[in-house]
Every structure is written in structure tokens, then in C-alpha cells.
């Protein structure tokens, strides 16, 4: 790292543009990502605190590097970080070394310098050592992934898209299948294709769509998810969350509680409501079904216990065989909302069919709609 210090200092000092820390926040997509490149960065800020979440384009689709705390740099020691931060740094520890990311915002683009340093590199000259040499790569990430046909097409996928089959070494039996047709949902919404495509609006793979959805989920606080196979695509299941009657998520930790908790923070309206009413609980699971296969919903409704098991029974990441499927024009992303009402604590929750809200309302209230739209 000592060797990198001058580079870091140079990069920071050479940054002519400053911005507020808020400008860093959001979903950033690398339209030119090739294999092993960084493909998605999600930056969160709260006051002067910043966290950075990174995904890399890897053999199996997208690899999650996880989230780390970053450091924001202002123009001077006395400046307000939140208003004048112009550089953010974040260090990711990888199995073979560590990667320092230097992030800057310029013209609504996120300029990222990734400085990779491998283990085993001591103070001696790099050429005398066996470990790979440190290197730096510059990326440009885009903030608003709206489709613009005038942009150049994205690079070809690193490997050819291969439909899942038993012959490709990844037997389909090993991938949990989502109930098909899906159980009857409380509400549904079609996620516009433009929300899921790269800035170029061109092709891509289902892994890219998965990465986009995961980044949006992450930004909206959904930290747990699981994948299922559906015909010609995948289903992405979110964890059960507790919501208010208007569809907005409850504040954590009540949001992820399996039962309605007592009042944790006092407000007169909440208190009076809890004092006089039955204190019902509302729960929601969102399932994104991405497939080119048209489908209807089954008549049979699902119970909350069974829906809760979806999270544990699915895969933690999208299998390569599905991720490499092309995101063709025929592929649609449908959000199925499963909303459950527990009329009073201790009672068995029942699915609300139909929901009082539309599927789009549910996505909007969970902020997913806005995050995907950006």
C-alpha cells in the first residue's frame, strides 16, 4: 500500500471537480463491462458516512464483492464533508489481495480508479517478486440507465449464451423450480424493459437483469433474496417484510420481524391506534419473474409459511446456465406481490387477494420503482 500512496494522493489532488456527497449516492452501471470488470456499484450515504457495494462481471454472471465502508474526502479539513466531498475511497479485501477504489463524480458520471495490490508484495521491487504486479484500471459508470439508441452497443458477452440443459454440465434438477404457474398473487406489475437494460438499451444477459434487480433491492434495504428457475428464465424472491397499510415498509427492525412488535418509538397516533384497534400486521413478499415464457397465475393461493420458505429453499445466486440466457425482446420482468394480513397478533396471516394497492403502487412504496427507474 505504501507504493500506492503517491498514486492515491495524486488521484485525489488531481480531481478538479467537487460535488456533494449526495451526488455519489445511487446505482451506477458500467455499460462497457467485460469479463472481470466491475459492472455495478451502489453507493449509499448517510450524513458524512458512505458505504460502497460492488459487483464484478465474472464467469458465473455477477460476483458480489460485498459492501464496505468508504471514506469521503472534502477539499479541506474544515470543509463540510456532506457538501463538498469530491472523492470517495473504499478498500475491498479479495482472496488474492486488495482493491482500492477511488470514486469521483464528473458530469453525472462516476469515474472509478481500481488499484489492485496482490498479497506477498513486499517493499522490494515488484519485478523481483513472484506475485502479480499491482495494476490500476479506470472505469466509467453511468447513473441513469435509460435506453438511448444512439449509444454504441455493449461489448459481446464473454461467453456464448447457452440455454440450460442437462448436457451442459449443470443439470437442471439441481436448480430449485419456482411453483409454475406461480400461485395467485395479491397484485402484479410489469417492470418496464427500460428499467432493466444497459444504457445502450441493447441486449445483454439475464445475469445483467439479475444484477440490476439485486442492486435495486440492495439499495432499498432488501439484503436477503433467493433464486429459482422458471421456464426460460428465473424468479427472484425477496425476504418477507412487514409493511404499513399504505404499502410503505415499516422501520427496521419491525420491517423484518415475523410478528407485529409492540410500539418501539412513541408517537401519539401510533399509540392510540395500538390502544384501540386490533393492531393488524401486513406482510409482503415480492417475486420478480424474468422469463420469455408467457404465464398466467394458478388458482391456488399460497400461505405465509409456504411463501416464507421460498427464501430458504432457493439459491443464493443466479446459476450460470440461466444467467447466460440472452435478455431478448421476448423476455419480460413481472413483479408478483404476495401480501398477507394478520388480523391480530398471534393469528395465522392470510393472503390478501386482491391487494388494496396495485402492483406498481407496491413497487413505488417500497422505492424499488424509483430506484429501478433511475
Amino acid at each position: 500500500m505504501k507504493r500506492l500512496a503517491p498514486c492515491i494522493l495524486g488521484l485525489i489532488l488531481a480531481s478538479p471537480v467537487f460535488a456533494s456527497l449526495h451526488d455519489f449516492e445511487g446505482f451506477w452501471y458500467n455499460p462497457d463491462a467485460r469479463l472481470s470488470d466491475l459492472v455495478t456499484i451502489v453507493v449509499r450515504t448517510e450524513g458524512s458516512h458512505v458505504s460502497v457495494h460492488v459487483w464484478q462481471h465474472c464467469d458465473s454472471g455477477t460476483c458480489d464483492w460485498g459492501q464496505v465502508n468508504g471514506i469521503a474526502y472534502a477539499l479541506s479539513a474544515s470543509a463540510n464533508l456532506a457538501d463538498s466531498a469530491h472523492v470517495v475511497s473504499a478498500v475491498f479485501r479479495r482472496p488474492d489481495g486488495e482493491v482500492l477504489l477511488i470514486l469521483r463524480v464528473e458530469d453525472r458520471l462516476l469515474k472509478v480508479d481500481a488499484l489492485t495490490h496482490f498479497k506477498g508484495q513486499g517493499p522490494g521491487p515488484p519485478e523481483a517478486q513472484q506475485a502479480p504486479k499491482p495494476y490500476a484500471v479506470a472505469y466509467t459508470f453511468r447513473y441513469t440507465p435509460t435506453a438511448t439508441a444512439s449509444k454504441p452497443p455493449p461489448p459481446p458477452p464473454p461467453t456464448s449464451a447457452t440455454p440450460p440443459s442437462a448436457a451442459d454440465g449443470h443439470p437442471r434438477e439441481k436448480i430449485p423450480q419456482f411453483p409454475w404457474p406461480p400461485p395467485r398473487a395479491s397484485a402484479m406489475a410489469l417492470v418496464p424493459r427500460s428499467f432493466l437494460t444497459a444504457p445502450t438499451g441493447m441486449g445483454g444477459q439475464l445475469a445483467d437483469v439479475s444484477g440490476r434487480l439485486l442492486a435495486a433491492l440492495d439499495l432499498c434495504g432488501y439484503s436477503e433474496h433467493s433464486f429459482y428457475a422458471v421456464p426460460d428464465g428465473f424468479a427472484l424472491v425477496t425476504q418477507l417484510e412487514q409493511i404499513n397499510p399504505d404499502g410503505t415498509p415499516k422501520q427496521a427492525p419491525a420491517r423484518w420481524a415475523a410478528d407485529v412488535p409492540p410500539l418501539r418509538s412513541f408517537s401519539m397516533s401510533d399509540y392510540l391506534k395500538a390502544l384501540f384497534t386490533a393492531n393488524p400486521g401486513y406482510y409482503r413478499i415480492i417475486v420478480f419473474v424474468v422469463t420469455s415464457h408467457p404465464f398466467s397465475q394458478a388458482e391456488a393461493a399460497v400461505g405465509r409459511e409456504e411463501a416464507e420458505r421460498w427464501l430458504a429453499s432457493g439459491l443464493n445466486q443466479l446459476p450460470d446456465t440461466i444467467g447466460k440466457l440472452p435478455f431478448s425482446e421476448a423476455v419480460a420482468c413481472t413483479a408478483l406481490i404476495y401480501e398477507f394480513e394478520q388480523r391480530e397478533a398471534g393469528k395465522e396471516p392470510v393472503i390478501l387477494i386482491p391487494s388494496d394497492l396495485t402492483g406498481t403502487d407496491h413497487l413505488a412504496k417500497s422505492r424499488l420503482w424509483d430506484v429501478l427507474k433511475r
Binding site: L263, A274, L275, F276, N279, A345, G346
Partner: protein, 143 residues
């Protein structure tokens, strides 16, 4: 210090009927809005024995007064009045807290009833103490 008995009785009556009336209406609204769900009868089965015996005692004395049967107005020891008044106030506050604290510590009718049953452990002896002080007061005034 002696206090006029009719004034003391009116103060105690006012205290008990206003306090119990407020609790009654809170319970009424809770029942209407389904706060106790299917456990409403058990909930009322806790509240009514908590306040009704005292209310009946007070009401019966006033009835006897109205009928002019053996009621002899005079004065009563101030200490006895303030003891009865304070114990009554404390008792009604504890009953009220058992209801008003429910949203902060419980979420379901079963948990509300559990809380009430726990409160009964100390409300029972407390109620005996209050009744004794009130009874002594009213009996003393009538004898």
C-alpha cells in the same frame, strides 16, 4: 380535623364514577374496534370485578340516602377521608395503567389478558384495602 360527611361522600363518589367511567369508555372503544378480538368477554371479565364492587357500594349508600333510611349526616375524620381518597386514586391509576400500557408491552389479545391477569395478583389485595377504607368511611357515616 373534621370534614362534613356529605362533602366527603360526594368527592369520593365523583372520583370513583369519573375514573371508572373513563376506563369504561376506553374499554368500550377497544371492544368496538376489536382490540381484544375474540377475548372481549374475558377482558370485560377483568375490568368489571375491578371497579364494580366499589361502585355498587357507593351507589347503594346514595340510594339509602335518597330513601332516608338511617342516613345520619354529620362530620367525619379528615384523615379517614384523605386515606380513602388517596387509596382510591392510586387504585384507579394502577387499573388505568394496566390498560394504557398494553400497546407498549404486548401485541395480541392473549398477551393483553396475560398482562391483566398478572396485574390481578396485586390489584386483588389492593382492592381489598381500598374497599376497607371506603367501607369504614361510609359505614362510619351511616352508623
Amino acid at each position: 380535623m373534621k370534614l362534613p360527611t356529605d362533602v366527603c361522600k360526594k368527592r369520593l363518589t365523583l372520583e370513583w364514577f369519573v375514573g371508572s367511567g373513563l376506563l369504561f369508555f376506553v374499554f368500550l372503544f377497544q371492544t368496538f374496534f376489536g382490540h381484544y378480538g375474540e377475548k372481549a368477554s374475558e377482558a370485560w371479565g377483568w375490568l368489571l370485578p375491578s371497579v364494580m364492587p366499589t361502585l355498587l357500594l357507593i351507589a347503594s349508600v346514595w340510594t339509602l340516602d335518597a330513601l332516608g333510611k338511617g342516613v345520619k349526616l354529620g362530620s367525619v375524620d379528615g384523615f379517614i377521608f384523605w386515606l380513602a381518597f388517596s387509596l382510591s386514586a392510586a387504585y384507579l391509576v394502577v387499573v388505568a395503567l394496566t390498560i394504557l400500557l398494553q400497546p407498549l408491552v404486548a401485541t395480541s389479545p392473549d398477551e393483553y389478558l396475560h398482562l391483566m391477569n398478572q396485574a390481578s395478583l396485586f390489584l386483588g389485595p389492593f382492592q381489598g384495602l381500598v374497599s376497607a377504607s371506603l367501607g369504614a368511611f361510609f359505614v362510619k357515616s351511616e352508623s
